[in-house]
């Protein structure tokens, strides 16, 4: 493998890993507060749709990184709004969290397609990609590292790493993080100690919504210029990353990069001469990320570190 192929591979892997990382970290906040959020997929769709529609409308008057940053804020806000419904159902109404999540997963793509066709007449929301940063000044001159991380990149990549650092710090080093984790492990004990379980869980779900919405946009920007109302199972892949990452930020980072690499191989194998030379049908390459997920989970699920109270409505009577 030549060095340039290797750089290409790493840059591509970033495009797929960073959204997985962001969304899985969101899922982590929700599950560690005690609410299972399988609506990550739908939340990504809605976040991507609303923010890309904003981009589509504004790109003639605005351009460049400011528009991307604004779109990212809109994506996060939209995701948060959708997750409010999940929070209300699972926290206030003690609904079955899987059913509520399924409803949102069903709603989001239908909403995106319906609204797109009503507003712009077609299903696809197109946008111009003016956000690629060919060279980060100074940093791209660093040997090897500069080529790997500071060429052909997007600010979203750095936002992703920023979120990782903040998420880890908040979860482990703040009083809020400790309380949130307590609500996912033993809400009755947390409640007895004076923690407002409902509030903590609301915050957990809303964070997951914001990050999933953002992740939807971050996934779309580098790899396409037309959004078609779906994110190709990425929300579910992020759930798998969360499980493989054992609900811990460091391991989630590793898991996200592993799946990102698998996805890169399946999406960009034509740009990797060694893989292309194998002559394997493209369908087989496309299966790789999904098969790898199953195989990895087969070997890592036996001892699960899932938050003990995840998926259970809080019942104060069980104290």
């Amino acid at each position: 493998m030549t060095l340039s192929t290797f750089y290409f591979l790493v840059q591509q892997t970033m495009f797929y890993s960073i959204p997985l990382l962001i969304v899985a970290l969101g899922g982590m906040y929700s599950e560690r507060s005690g609410v299972v959020n399988i609506a990550l997929e739908g939340t990504m769709v809605i976040g991507a749709f609303v923010s890309l529609y904003f981009m589509n409308q504004m790109q003639s008057t605005m351009s460049g990184q400011l528009l991307l940053v604004l779109s990212m804020l809109i994506a996060a806000a939209t995701g948060m709004l959708l997750s409010l419904f999940h929070a209300y159902a699972s926290i206030n109404m003690k609904a079955n969290q899987v059913i509520s999540g399924t409803a949102l997963n069903l709603f989001a793509p239908a909403f995106a397609i319906f609204t797109a066709r009503m507003l712009i007449g077609v299903q696809q929301v197109t946008f111009m990609n003016t956000y690629r940063i060919p060279l980060v000044p100074y940093l791209s001159d660093i040997p090897v590292l500069g080529d790997l991380f500071f060429k052909n990149t997007y600010i979203t990549t750095f936002v992703g790493f920023g979120i990782l650092i903040i998420a880890t710090f908040v979860l482990y080093k703040t009083r809020f993080g400790l309380r949130l984790r307590a609500c996912g492990e033993h809400p009755q004990a947390a409640d007895a100690a004076g923690v407002n379980v409902k509030k903590m869980r609301y915050i957990g779900v809303l964070i997951s919504g914001a990050l999933a919405g953002l992740g939807g946009l971050v996934l779309m920007v580098p790899v396409t210029t037309a959004f078609d109302g779906q994110v190709g199972g990425y929300g579910f892949l992020a759930l798998a990353v969360l499980i493989f990452g054992q609900w811990r930020p460091g391991r989630i980072l590793f898991a996200a990069f592993f799946f990102g690499l698998m996805k890169t191989i399946s999406a960009a194998y034509t740009g990797i001469p060694i893989l292309l030379a194998l002559g394997i049908p493209s369908y087989m390459f496309k299966m790789i990320p999904y098969l790898a997920t199953i195989i990895i989970l087969t070997f890592t699920s036996k001892k699960s570190a899932a938050p003990r109270a995840a998926g259970e409505p809080y019942d104060a009577g069980k104290r």
């Binding site: 399988i38 419904f85 159902a89 109404m93 003690k94 609904a95 079955n96 899987v98 059913i99 509520s100 399924t102 409803a103 949102l104 069903l106 709603f107 793509p109 239908a110 909403f111 397609i113 319906f114 066709r117 009503m118 199972g233 579910f236 759930l239 798998a240 499980i243 049908p281 369908y283 087989m284 496309k286 299966m287 999904y290 098969l291 997920t293 199953i294 989970l297 087969t298 070997f299 699920s301 036996k302 699960s304």
Partner: protein, 361 residues
């Protein structure tokens, strides 16, 4: 007194919770129509409510045909629910079943024409059953979350079927599977009842299967054991039930039901083919709302399948008014959301019955 008795009845409470959820979904759907096109909203809403009836007898026949696959995927999801598993992988099982049926229908010409469709349907059940059993085996022996595996197998199944279609039963000019000309399902007299519609014997098979599933779940020891594992794995093990076996069987049966749905839909003579595109089969996902609305009860699923089929036909007809048919999926998702809240509806009805009880005293 009688009203109080009725309100206390468990299945009445569940059914009325579903009906309240449906009313909410319809209402919000109407509001969506009003926002998107106020002038045509009421006409559009009436068209949705009329569903297949917009097309007369032909439309009703098409409703039945539309309901047929989702009754089976609904049974698949519902059966797994009853046994404590969430089968979100009906889509993959469905498309593998469809492929198996087409493959047998096209290639196994040594079987006499009159019997070929039956063999093809059995093949569809086996293919779907294997796909479902993989999920069960991983869950039983490796504790792998069945939601994740079944979703991943949806994608693997889709790409696998695309590959298999291209390499075995491919119609190159149309980029789709060949027609299983010798294995089309018989019409079973439904072409006389519903002239020019797509309805065939498939809907009858779907209903018969639903009744069989009801008998298995409610009247047999096997079904009891499966449900017991669903309620409480540890207690079932203590009672001597082999819970690993139950999980595998339950996923295998769920897969076979979805696979049969795929077989039935793709063996109809209306020109349905597997297209080689990277899109998951929607019928599998539509089984989830059908199962939830039918409260996972096989008989309930017949009705909820017909209801969703009816709504889908409404979605087809509102395109005349330039509405986008996706509004139906939005309405169904809202219905599901409200049925997730049904616990609140149930307690509302309980309160009502308490109040009434107080008054009769």
């Amino acid at each position: 007194m009688n009203v109080k008795k009725l309100l206390n009845n468990r299945s009445f409470k569940s059914v009325s919770a579903s009906i309240i959820a449906i009313l909410f979904g319809l209402l919000i759907g109407y509001i969506i129509l009003l926002i998107s096109n106020p002038a045509q909203a009421t006409r559009g809403f009436i068209i949705i409510l009329n569903g297949g009836f917009n097309g007369g007898l032909r439309g009703v026949g098409n409703t039945l045909h539309n309901a047929m696959p989702i009754i089976l995927t609904g049974l698949s999801v519902g059966f797994a629910f009853k046994t404590g598993l969430f089968n979100i992988g009906a889509s993959g099982q469905f498309i593998l079943g469809a492929f198996a049926a087409i493959y047998i229908g096209v290639k196994w010409t040594f079987i006499p024409v009159g019997y070929l469709w039956i063999v093809a349907l059995i093949g569809a059940m086996i293919a779907g059953g294997i796909w479902g059993a993989i999920v069960g085996v991983l869950k039983a022996f490796r504790n792998v979350n069945e939601v994740i595996t079944s979703i991943m197998l949806n994608y693997v199944g889709m790409y696998l079927v695309n590959f298999l279609v291209v390499s075995t039963v491919f119609d190159l000019t149309r980029n789709q599977s060949l027609s299983p000309l010798n294995a089309y399902l018989p019409r079973g007299g439904l072409d006389v009842l519903f002239p020019l519609s797509s309805a065939n014997i498939g809907i009858i098979i779907a209903i018969v299967i639903a009744v069989i599933m009801y008998i298995i779940l409610e009247k047999t020891t096997f079904g009891f054991e499966l449900k017991a594992v669903g309620y409480n794995r540890e207690a079932s093990r203590y009672a001597g039930i082999n819970e690993k076996k139950s999980i595998i069987f339950s996923m295998m049966i769920a897969g076979a039901l979805a696979g049969l749905g795929g077989g039935l839909l793709y063996l109809s003579d209306i020109g349905k083919h597997i297209e080689v595109v990277d899109i998951l089969a929607a019928e599998g996902f539509n089984g989830i709302p059908v199962a939830l609305l039918g409260l996972s009860n096989p008989i309930g699923i017949i009705f909820s399948g017909l209801f969703v089929g009816h709504m889908n036909m409404g979605g087809f007809y509102i395109q005349r008014l330039r509405f986008v048919p996706e509004v139906i999926n939005m309405m169904i998702s809202i219905i599901i959301y409200f049925s997730a809240l049904s616990l609140a509806f149930k307690s509302f009805i309980e309160n009502l019955s308490k109040k009434l009880g107080g008054r009769t005293k």
